[in-house]
């Protein structure tokens, strides 16, 4: 029997009281007996030994449960079948059990042993389902059994079982809160879990059981941030909401400077003012203020804070509205003002979803628009109301539109509002009129227009419209009553027609309040009202009394009798409120012998100047509730709501989030080795980089030392220091080197073959270059052979370099000693961290780096005291980019970095070092590149095929890409023996150049030739952390592959300046490089000024490169 027929049968043969569809059944007396009989049927079926019958019975029972009927008397019959072999019967029994176990606790215990057996099953899914049902049975006696089961499951091998354990935690907690401490232990353990499957569920358990134990999150914070994108969508929502709270307790307010500024006066309004002449001065003042503030409290965003913002941003593209909303609220509560804007587009997108989603989103947008109006202004039209919207959506949209209204867009908004007034939906029309009123109070320019429009509405045929208009006009008039006595007169006339009590009351109040402006009409209105007094609503009656009292005080001659009459009528009114009011007013205004003191002040009491009402959005100040929460929606604290804490005054210790073992490494062998290493405070990204980077940098030093022309001295010092450490590595290296050489030969052959097609000239040139590289005799290989002048110049440079090196060499050692130390450390790391050395690091020609080293050394020798510059360029961290994520790569993950080495097979190419890690359980074979898709002119030199990458191992390879001095991506397929992955490499502009050595004079000369269009300069405020020489140089060299131009080198040339000049108060830093393909000069200058201000100038023949570089450098220096 199918489910459907089961239901129908059951429907046909049964009935119960209260079920409307059977309500008409006259023979209701017989129902009970048939009911019992039917249950007997079911019991019989359940007792039979045929699965089909059992199933049929269970289906009927479940259908009963679904319709909310009581089936509890079947419990003993059902529970017997808990061990049934048939999987569907079993499942339905589970459904029944979970539903009724609470009511039949003793009988439920019979089933427990079945589940306990299930918990030991070898199949993870059966273990999980047993735990799931066991924990869902709400029977207090089994709490200890549940606790035990949860604890065991929490350390189960299968992540799925662990997930189920996480789900079981809140169940047990709600059953017995006493278990909290033990459960927290389990939560702590599960929080450390590294799988995405568990993350969402355990955070949910954390939120239900111990949301106050924020300290449990510290160690897992970075992991959660990094896993977030791969967690299932529901888990993402919970994690993001929790992290929002966490971040509020752990990080500083990113808008702290701005909020201080606002308090200080101005506010941000003047900031965006279009008035430029006036503004400039102000701007300067502001800047001074900002910098002053910055001095007092320099704000630097915690890298962990940044990590959170960065990792949540892609989730704005989720299809799940709840995820988008969660990210949006996170940005609203945590991001710096300038970055919050990104959420607007995503939220507007949600407005096209179901109306319930719109409803919630609009509520939140309404709150956001009060704080950050600018964010949604570009999307104004998305909030226009459609005739098909439900009323509640219309009203919310209206709210948003009103919040967005300002001087510039008010005319369009008002135009839009007018169309709404014509709508047939009366609630909506009323809301529109109120919205117009609010716009009028907020924006002075349109007040009169609005008022006129509203007055026109007074002649509308629809009474509701008129009434609402009257109420709004009343509020508007209160702002400047003297100007609008004619409107008051007009409204006085309306009293004959308008029947809506609120509107009548409003008119009467207006006339009373401003009776001096309408001295003739007011008594007449009172006369009419006195006539109809008995038929009025209470609220109107009260206003009539009010009007009478006010008129009596101002114009007692005409109105004395009328007032008496009204008061007499009121005295006998049915409503005690009105009677009280009448008595009170009579005492106050009518002078009798007894009432002395008060009546003197009656006028002051009644005709005091009343403040105009402020029409405010109902969404004002709602943002103290976490956005997106139920509490925010209801504007009341819901049960279990966790307050969003205020930002801390000073940041708690960020080191609590450091973890000994970096999570990102999946490869166990690497992990083990890492453990020995020094703990690093950076989060995983940079952690990953540090290894390859440092090794890449330290090696070439020795290389350049031994290979470049001016070998002699340098090669001596580093090599002996490194001998000991490198001994272990050397074998490997040699092997590698040999391989490398072979490879290179092959490559060269290939290249020659391939290039035979190219023009002969080209051919020759390249051949020569290859030879150069092969011979390893020349240090300068990069010169653009087309421009002779530059070549000669560079050779000049070279010679100078040599001279200087020699000079340096002749000097005593002190500066180079620390250098050695540094190297020692680095190589130590190398040994720990790095296996086979990637090819270019052993390739002998390393002119550029040696160049930059020279430069740095020079800087060292000249700028005396501080030796920092020497270490800067080489140790600057290289950034790792992800080429293939391990999930998409099915276990294979690939990262790449721009190693900044010369790519030996072709000097016009940028070397890209790729780091392959095989996280899968099987070996990967035949890793190679295929199907390269490039922009015209670009070329790629593939890395040699990696024949075998065993499971869990990692390796590196280097490929060369000629990007043609553009940031276009190189697309290709990465192929394994089984799969192909589309990947692409996009170079940051800074990697499209290589350092070149220039002296300050040369630099200035070159710079003077690259003026005008080729020069781009920008003013900036240096990041607070980036004010010293070391930091600036490091940031620039990290962002772009440039070398530092030694400062003051000209002076050095003249021998008569032995005492080094004192450091200039505002030093200027210069950097030079050449684009890789065309060899155009790239010159960058950072001129510092007071208070962290600075000017960045980039001169480059290629304007596109120049502009992009300026952007990148700006970013590097200001963040």
């Amino acid at each position: 029997m199918s489910a459907s027929s089961a239901f129908n049968d059951e429907k046909g043969g049964s009935s119960s009281v209260g079920e409307p569809e059977y309500g008409h059944d006259p023979a209701s007396g017989g129902i009970f007996s048939s009911d019992y009989k039917r249950h007997d049927d079911l019991k019989e079926m359940l007792d039979s030994n045929k699965d089909a019958l059992k199933l049929e019975a269970m289906k009927r029972i479940v259908a009963m449960i679904a319709r909310g009927k009581n089936a509890s008397d079947l419990f003993p019959a059902v529970v017997k079948n808990v061990a049934c072999k048939n999987i569907e019967v079993k499942k339905l029994v589970y459904v029944y059990l979970v539903r009724y176990a609470e009511e039949q606790q003793d009988l439920a215990l019979l089933s427990i042993s079945t589940f306990q057996r299930g918990l030991k099953d070898p199949n993870q899914l059966i273990r999980a389902s047993a735990l799931r049902v066991l924990s869902s049975i709400r029977v207090t006696i089994i709490v200890p059994i549940m606790m035990l089961a949860i604890k065991e499951a929490a350390s189960d091998m299968s992540p799925y079982v662990r997930k189920t354990a996480a789900h079981a935690i809140p169940k047990l907690y709600s059953l017995d809160p006493e278990q909290k401490d033990q459960l927290i232990e389990v939560i702590e353990k599960l929080l450390a879990d590294k799988t995405t499957l568990v993350a969402g569920s355990v955070v949910m358990a954390f939120e239900e059981v111990c949301p106050e134990r924020i300290d449990l999150i510290h160690k897992n914070y970075r992991k959660l941030c990094n896993l977030l994108i791969d967690v299932e969508e529901w888990g993402q929502v919970v994690i993001i909401n929790m992290l929002t709270r966490y971040a509020r307790t752990q990080f500083l307010n990113p808008n702290i400077n701005e909020s201080l500024l606002e308090e200080g006066g101005g506010g941000d309004k003047t900031f965006y003012c279009s008035d430029e002449d006036e503004d400039e001065d102000e701007e300067k003042e502001k800047q001074a203020e900002v910098s002053a503030l910055a001095k007092r409290k320099p704000y630097v965003m915690d890298p962990d804070h940044r990590l959170l913002l960065r990792n949540t941003k892609p989730l704005l593209q989720s299809r799940n509205a709840a995820v988008v909303m969660a990210v949006a609220q996170l940005y609203f509560h945590l991001a710096p003002k300038a970055e919050v804007g990104v959420i607007a587009k995503a939220l507007v997108r949600l407005l096209r979803s179901h109306s319930e989603v719109q409803f919630v989103v609009l509520q939140n947008v309404a709150t956001m628009t009060i704080k950050r109006r600018g964010m949604f202004e570009p999307y104004l039209k998305s909030f226009y109301i459609r005739s098909t919207d439900p009323t509640q959506i219309k009203i919310l949209k209206l709210e948003v539109l009103t919040n967005l209204a300002n001087e510039t867009n008010i005319s369009t908004i008002l135009r839009e509002f007018q169309t709404y007034i014509k709508s047939m939906d009366k609630d909506f029309v009323a809301a529109t009129i109120q919205a117009i009123g609010r716009c009028a109070t907020n924006i002075g320019e349109v007040r009169d227009t609005c008022l006129n429009g509203l007055v026109q509405l007074l002649s509308n045929r629809d009474e509701l419209v008129v009434a609402e208009s009257v109420v709004v006009i009343k509020k508007l008039l209160q702002m400047q009553p003297e100007k609008h006595s004619d409107i008051i007169k007009h409204m006085a006339k309306l009293t004959d027609n308008i029947q809506v009590p609120m509107a009548r009351a409003s008119i009467l109040w207006l006339i009373g309040e401003y009776c001096e402006h309408v001295p003739k009409i007011a008594p007449d209105v009172l006369r009419k009202m006195a006539k109809s007094f008995t038929n009025e609503e209470d609220i109107v009656k009260l206003q009539i009394i009010n009007l009478a009292a006010k008129l009596y005080l101002t114009n007692s001659k005409q109105t004395k009798l009328l007032t008496q009459y009204v008061l007499n009528l009121a005295k006998y009114d049915q409503n005690y409120d009105i009677r009280d009011r009448a008595r009170f007013i009579r005492q106050l205004i009518v002078p009798t012998e007894k009432s002395g003191a008060l009546s003197k002040y009656a006028k002051k009491l009644f005709l005091a100047l009343k403040p105009a009402p402020v029409l405010e959005s109902p969404f004002k100040d709602r943002d103290h509730f976490q956005l997106g929460s139920l509490s925010h929606l209801l504007n009341a604290k819901a049960g279990g709501y966790q307050e969003l804490p205020d930002w801390p005054e000073s940041a708690p210790d960020p080191s609590v989030r450091n973890v000994e073992v970096p999570e990102w490494t999946k490869c166990s062998s690497r992990e083990k080795r890492k453990e020995k290493k020094v703990e690093k405070p950076f989060y995983s990204d940079s952690e990953g980089e540090s290894g390859p980077t440092e090794s890449a940098d330290s090696e070439p030093d020795t290389g350049s030392g031994s290979e470049s022309v001016s070998v002699s001295v340098e090669s001596g010092s580093p090599s002996d220091s490194e001998e000991s450490e490198e001994s272990s590595e050397s074998d490997e290296d040699e092997e590698e080197e040999e391989k490398e050489k072979k490879k290179k030969k092959k490559e060269i052959k290939q290249m020659q073959a391939s290039e035979s097609e190219q023009s002969s000239e080209d051919d020759r040139k390249r051949d020569r270059k290859i030879k150069e590289q092969k011979s390893n005799s020349e240090s300068e290989s990069d010169e653009d052979s087309e421009s002779e002048s530059s070549q000669s110049e560079s050779s000049d440079t070279e010679s100078e370099v040599e001279v200087k090196k020699k000079k340096k060499v002749s000097e005593p050692k002190p500066p180079s000693k620390p250098l050695k130390k540094e190297k020692k450390e680095m190589s130590l790391l190398d040994l720990d961290d790095f296996e086979p050395t990637p090819s270019p690091q052993v390739t002998p020609v390393n002119t550029f780096l040696s160049n930059s080293l020279v430069t740095d050394l020079e800087g060292l020798s000249l700028s005396d005291s501080v030796l920092s510059p020497a270490t800067i360029a080489p140790s600057s961290a290289l950034k790792n980019y992800e080429l293939l994520h391990r999930i998409t790569g099915e276990g294979l993950s690939v990262e790449y970095c721009f190693s900044r080495q010369a790519f030996s097979p072709d000097a016009n190419m940028v070397a890209v070092q790729m780091h392959f890690t095989n996280n899968a359980t099987s070996d990967t074979k035949n890793l190679h590149i295929e199907d390269v898709k490039l922009q015209s002119g670009m070329r790629v030199k593939e890395f040699a095929e990696i024949e075998l990458l065993p499971a869990g191992e990692a390796t590196t390879a280097v490929m060369g890409v000629d990007f043609c001095d553009s940031t276009q991506a190189a697309n290709f397929q990465l192929c394994t023996h089984t799969r192909k992955f589309f990947v692409s490499i996009q170079p940051p502009v800074g990697e499209l150049m290589r350092p070149v050595f220039l002296t300050e004079n040369e630099f200035k000369k070159e710079q003077s030739q690259l003026m005008g269009m080729n020069e781009i300069s920008e003013n900036l405020t240096l990041d607070a952390k980036c004010r010293n020489e070391h930091a600036i140089v490091q940031r620039v060299t990290t962002a772009a592959n440039l070398s530092r131009v030694p400062c003051g080198s000209d002076k050095e040339c003249s021998p008569a300046a032995p005492p080094p000049p004192p450091p200039h108060p505002h030093p200027v830093y210069r950097f030079a490089g050449k684009t890789v393909t065309s060899g155009s000069l790239v010159l960058a200058t950072v001129a510092t000024k007071d208070e962290g201000a600075a000017q960045l100038t980039v001169n480059c023949e290629k304007m596109v490169i120049g502009t992009m570089l300026v952007k990148d450098l700006l970013l590097a220096l200001t963040q």
Binding site: S4, A66, H167, P390, T449, D462
Partner: protein
Amino acid sequence: MIHSLFLVNASGDIFLEKHWKSVVSRSVCDYFFEAQERATEPENVPPVISTPHHYLISVLRHRIYFVAVIQSEVPPLFVIEFLHRVVDTFQDYFGVCTEAAIKDNVVVVYELLEEMLDNGFPLATESNILKELIKPPTILRTMVNTITGSTNVGEQLPTGQLSVVPWRRTGVKYTNNEAYFDVVEEIDAIIDKSGSTITAEIQGVIDACVKLTGMPDLTLSFMNPRLLDDVSFHPCVRFKRWEAERILSFIPPDGNFRLLSYHVSSQNLVAIPVYVKHNITFREGSSQGRFDLTLGPKQTMGKAVEAVLVSSQLPRGVLNANLNPSQGTYTFDPVTKLLTWDVGKINPQKLPSLKGTMSLQAGASKPDENPTINIQLKIQQMAISGLKVNRLDMYGEKYKPFKGIKYMTKAGKSVSSYLFEFLFI
């Protein structure tokens, strides 16, 4: 999280209840019924209702209210999104999501709900995993089940839940490997009386029906991806590749799914494919009004405008309309005052028009409100934004699939034309 779920039909009966924690009495729904009574229209019932001990969050789909009972703080969108997911799953399983379909399949529904939530927290919402757990009812299976007494519950365990691509099950096999993509665009526009556009926007979706063997890895590229202003993806789409190359790269779920929804940037002018000429007047004093409406195609690149349906909410004063359509049929509902005109296909040579008179209540004054006109339409084989799929490639599998891409444009929630003048400014 979600405590209980009640399904309420249009007449206010609870026809299904499911509890994930201890039982909540169905009397809690009385608060919902109150709100339902207060609301003038079914869609105006507030989605979130606060009661003394619980919160009710509801969605309305297919004239059924899905009312979730919540006891403590939870993001409301979380619940709403989940409820919609439940409805989508029902639709996926039973083809339609009506009261009758749910009642007919009550056991399957119950089993589904049981799997989707654990203790009120979503557990398995991917339809792919659910289908592995509980087989959707088909006619054949129902028959077999009737005869053999076997079940809808899957024999195997939900291994999909353990996979790295939870949306796709392993071991999919088809004899005909096909992948179809429908690019469907909707225009939403508001046009004022004079015919100029106040707002117009295009939003589109790419719905896919992929029936491919094994673990195919697809990439879909566009000729003009820059058109797409704002996008949201199915979780299978690799975000990074979209960011870097504007290419959709994904391992597809099995069967029907929505790959992408997008919004076309508002910088591009939206060409509205039809225009309306209208003349609706009421004369003061007489009980007659004139109604004159003509439609015409505009900028459709030679494609026919089909399935045109015009609807207009006439003022309350209108008693009846006596109209004469040049093609198609019209109906006027004297109670709701809704005029609908089923035009069909627009023939550019002979423009469809609807002319005639409206009779007003005798003695009533000229109605204030002017009607708005809503137009629905369809254009096959054209995406109005001009979006074009460049190519679809498959990797990871050896066979050659059959690929198909279809374009369609329709009117969205409203292409409406306001027919009134402005009061002030």
